[in-house]
C-alpha cells in the first residue's frame, strides 16, 4: 500500500494506507484523533470539518491521498494541552453546545471564518457556518459564541 506523508497538528506523520480511504478514518482509526466526528459520510453536515492548509475541508469525503504534503489541523491541534483558543473559550462561555457532537466541526469552521473575515456580522456568521448542522438546534448560541470569539480576538489584539 502507498505511504502518505503529511503534517497533523504540527507533527509530521506518515501513514501506509489505501489511497481512497477517507482522511476522517485515518485520523480517527490510525492516528487516534477521535475529536473529528463522522456525521453523514457525504460532506453534508460538516461534523468532520478539519483545516487543510488553513481551509475547512470535510474529512469524510477527502481521500487521504489529497492531503499528501499538506498541513492538517484537527480540533485536538487548536489548543493542544494548553490554553483554549478564543473560539473554544467562546463556545464554552456561551455554552454553545448540547450534545456537543457537532462542536469540533463548528469550532474549526468558526476558526477559519474568523481568519478570513475578522469581526464578522451576524449575517456573515450565518453564511460562513452555513452547512454545519446542529441537530440539537443550538444555532442562536453558536452564532453568539462566534460573536464572542470575535470580541475575544479584538480584545487580545488591542491588549497585545
Amino acid at each position: 500500500m502507498p505511504v502518505y506523508r503529511f503534517e497533523v497538528n504540527g507533527q509530521a506523520r506518515s501513514v501506509e494506507t489505501a489511497a481512497d480511504r477517507p482522511l476522517l478514518e485515518v485520523l480517527r482509526e490510525d492516528l487516534g484523533l477521535t475529536g473529528t466526528k463522522y456525521g453523514c459520510g457525504e460532506g453534508q453536515c460538516r461534523a468532520c470539518t478539519v483545516l487543510v492548509d488553513g481551509r475547512p475541508a470535510p474529512s469524510c469525503v477527502t481521500p487521504v491521498r489529497n492531503v499528501a504534503g499538506k498541513r492538517v489541523k484537527t480540533i485536538e491541534g487548536l489548543a493542544g494541552d494548553g490554553a483554549l483558543t478564543a473560539v473554544q473559550r467562546a463556545f464554552l462561555e456561551a455554552q454553545a453546545f448540547q450534545c456537543g457532537y457537532c462542536t469540533p466541526g463548528m469550532v474549526l469552521g468558526a476558526t477559519a471564518l474568523l481568519e478570513r473575515t475578522p469581526g464578522p456580522s451576524e449575517q456573515q456568521i450565518r453564511e460562513g457556518l452555513n452547512g454545519h448542522i446542529c441537530r440539537c438546534t443550538g444555532y442562536p448560541r453558536i452564532v453568539a459564541a462566534v460573536q464572542l470569539a470575535s470580541r475575544f480576538e479584538r480584545e487580545a489584539e488591542s491588549n497585545g
Partner: protein, 483 residues
C-alpha cells in the same frame, strides 16, 4: 428475560422495537441461562433498592459521586442531576461528579424519555442527598470527606419524609449552570460511543438486506475471509465482518453482499400510497361514538393532517463497542435505555443480565430514536466471533434506512358549529404503530355533546414500527404521533 419493574413507569407512547436477531445457541449456553437468572434477580433487586448508597458515593478524598440510570444525550440530565445533588448536599456544583447509564454501577431509573428525569429522578436524587446531609449533620463531622475517612456510613433507606432545601434558599437549582464536561467537548476530548477504543479492537460492518423484510437465504463467507485480517460471521439473519479498519470491514461486507442471496419482498406500500394504505388497513381500531355526528346541524369544518415517517436523525449515528471477557460482555453504546439494552443483549446471547454491563457515555443526540440496542447486539455478535473487542458505527445511510422511525399517521378532524357552539366533533387518527389512545378517545366527551372518535393502530411497514397488530400489543410496540 427480566420482568418490567412495576415501580418504573414506562412512557406509554414509547417505541420498543422487537428483537431483530435470533442467534443460535449451543446447548451449554442454553443450560447456563436458568441458573444465572437467580443471580440476576438478586442483583437487580439490590440495584433498585432505594438505599442512599445506591445513589451516592462519598470518597475519603472528598469526591462526591451521584449515580443515576438516566443518560445524557444533550438534553442536560447530567447538569440537572449534579445541580440537584450539590444543592441538597450543600456543596459547590464542581464538587459533584455524576455517573450515568452504567448498568453495573447505577440504580435503574428507567429509560430517559417522556421528560421524566425532572419529575421522577430529580426528586429521588434530592431525597438521597438531603438524607446524606442529615446523616452528616448528626455525625458531628465537618465534611463528607471527614465522615468517609472516619469510616462513617452513608447508607440505609432514604426516609419517606426528608427535609429538602426550600426553594427560597436555593443556591444552585433554579439558575443557569454550565454543563459539566464542557471543556472536553470544545477540546474534542469527550469520548462519545463512536470514539471508545479498547486494546486490540477491530472495526465492524454489517450486511444489510436490500429491502426491509428480505431474508438472507445464502451468503459466501469465504469471499470475505480470504481478505487479510477479516473476520466474517453469519448467524441466522445476521451477517457481518470485522477488520483492523472500518474501510477493510466495509470492503469485506461488500464481498459478502456480492454473493448474498435474498428472498424477494413484494412491497405493498410506498410514499405515494402510504395514507391510502392506512385508510384501507387501519389495523386495530377503537371507536368511541355518542349520537350521530354525521347528521348534526350547523356549518361543517374539516381538516386532514398527515405526518410522514420521520427519522430522528441524531448527529451521531448508532454506535457500540463490545468487549467479551470470560463469557461476560461489556458494551459501550449510546442508548436512552441502558437497562433495556442490557436485557436485549442478555436475551440475544442467552446470558443473565448480571453477565452484561452496558456503559453509556454521553452521546451525540437521540431525540427519542435511540431507545433500542441494535448496534450493541451487532457489535457484540462480531466481537464474539472475532474474540476481540469490536467497534461498530452505523453509517448515516444505515441510520436512515434501519433505525426505527417516528410512525406515519393520518388525522382527520371534523366539527359542526352552530350559533357559536360546537355541536359535533369527529376525530379520526390512523397511524402505524400503537398510540396512547386513552386520552385521545376520552377527549371526545369534553369536545362536544355529539362526537365520533376513531383511533387505529396499523402494522408498521418500516423497521421498528412493528409487524402486526397482535405483536404490537404483545411486544408493547408504540409510536408517538404528535404532529
Amino acid at each position: 428475560m427480566a420482568e418490567q419493574n412495576p415501580r418504573l413507569e414506562l412512557e406509554r407512547f414509547e417505541l420498543r422495537e422487537p428483537d431483530r436477531y435470533r442467534f443460535e445457541l449451543d446447548r451449554r449456553e442454553f443450560l447456563g441461562a436458568g441458573l444465572l437468572l437467580t443471580l440476576f434477580i438478586t442483583q437487580e433487586a439490590a440495584a433498585q433498592g432505594n438505599g442512599i448508597e445506591a445513589r451516592l458515593h462519598l470518597g475519603e478524598d472528598g469526591t462526591i459521586t451521584v449515580l443515576s440510570g438516566k443518560i445524557e444525550e444533550g438534553q442536560g440530565a447530567r447538569t440537572e442531576i449534579a445541580m440537584a445533588a450539590a444543592e441538597e448536599l450543600g456543596v459547590p456544583l464542581a464538587r459533584v461528579s455524576v455517573v450515568l447509564g452504567d448498568t453495573a454501577r447505577v440504580p435503574n431509573d428507567g429509560g430517559t424519555w417522556g421528560s421524566a428525569t425532572t419529575p421522577r429522578t430529580i426528586p429521588a436524587v434530592r431525597s438521597a442527598c438531603a438524607s446524606a446531609r442529615g446523616i452528616l449533620g448528626q455525625s458531628g463531622h465537618k465534611s463528607y470527606a471527614e465522615l468517609a475517612k472516619a469510616g462513617g456510613k452513608i447508607a440505609g433507606a432514604v426516609p419517606a419524609k426528608v427535609s429538602l432545601q426550600a426553594v427560597s434558599e436555593w443556591r444552585i437549582l433554579g439558575k443557569s449552570q454550565a454543563r459539566p464536561g464542557g471543556e472536553a467537548i470544545v477540546r474534542g476530548a469527550h469520548e462519545y460511543p463512536s470514539d471508545v477504543k479498547r486494546p486490540g479492537m477491530l472495526y465492524g460492518a454489517v450486511l444489510r438486506a436490500p429491502a426491509d423484510g428480505a431474508r438472507l437465504e445464502s451468503v459466501d463467507l469465504e469471499a470475505a475471509r480470504k481478505l487479510a485480517g477479516v473476520v466474517a460471521v453469519r448467524d441466522g439473519e445476521f451477517a457481518g465482518c470485522a477488520a483492523a479498519t472500518s474501510y477493510e470491514a466495509r470492503k469485506a461486507v461488500a464481498a459478502l453482499a456480492a454473493s448474498a442471496r435474498w428472498s424477494t419482498v413484494n412491497a405493498k406500500v410506498s410514499s405515494e400510497n402510504l395514507y391510502d394504505y392506512l385508510k384501507q388497513n387501519p389495523g386495530r381500531v377503537r371507536d368511541d361514538v355518542k349520537g350521530s355526528p354525521g347528521t348534526a346541524a350547523g356549518q361543517r369544518i374539516k381538516g386532514e393532517y398527515r405526518c410522514a415517517y420521520i427519522q430522528h436523525a441524531p448527529m451521531e449515528p448508532r454506535a457500540a463497542v463490545a468487549d467479551w471477557e470470560n463469557g461476560r460482555l461489556t458494551v459501550w453504546t449510546g442508548s436512552s435505555n441502558p437497562f433495556g439494552v442490557r436485557d436485549a443483549l442478555a436475551r440475544a446471547f442467552s446470558l443473565s443480565a448480571g453477565q452484561v454491563r452496558v456503559i453509556t457515555p454521553d452521546f451525540g443526540g437521540g431525540f427519542g430514536g435511540k431507545h433500542t440496542g441494535e448496534a450493541a447486539i451487532e457489535a457484540a455478535r462480531l466481537a464474539k466471533e472475532a474474540g476481540k473487542p469490536v467497534s461498530l458505527r452505523w453509517t448515516r445511510a444505515e441510520e436512515f434506512a434501519w433505525a426505527y422511525c417516528r410512525p406515519a399517521a393520518l388525522i382527520e378532524v371534523e366539527a359542526a358549529v352552530e350559533g357559536g357552539s360546537i355541536t359535533a366533533v369527529g376525530f379520526c387518527q390512523l397511524q402505524f404503530g400503537g398510540v396512547g389512545a386513552g386520552e385521545s378517545i376520552q377527549a371526545g366527551e369534553h369536545a362536544a355533546p355529539v362526537y365520533r372518535v376513531r383511533i387505529a393502530a396499523a402494522a408498521g411497514i418500516v423497521p421498528g414500527a412493528g409487524v402486526d397488530g397482535e405483536q404490537l400489543r404483545a411486544r408493547g410496540v408504540h409510536g408517538r404521533t404528535g404532529c
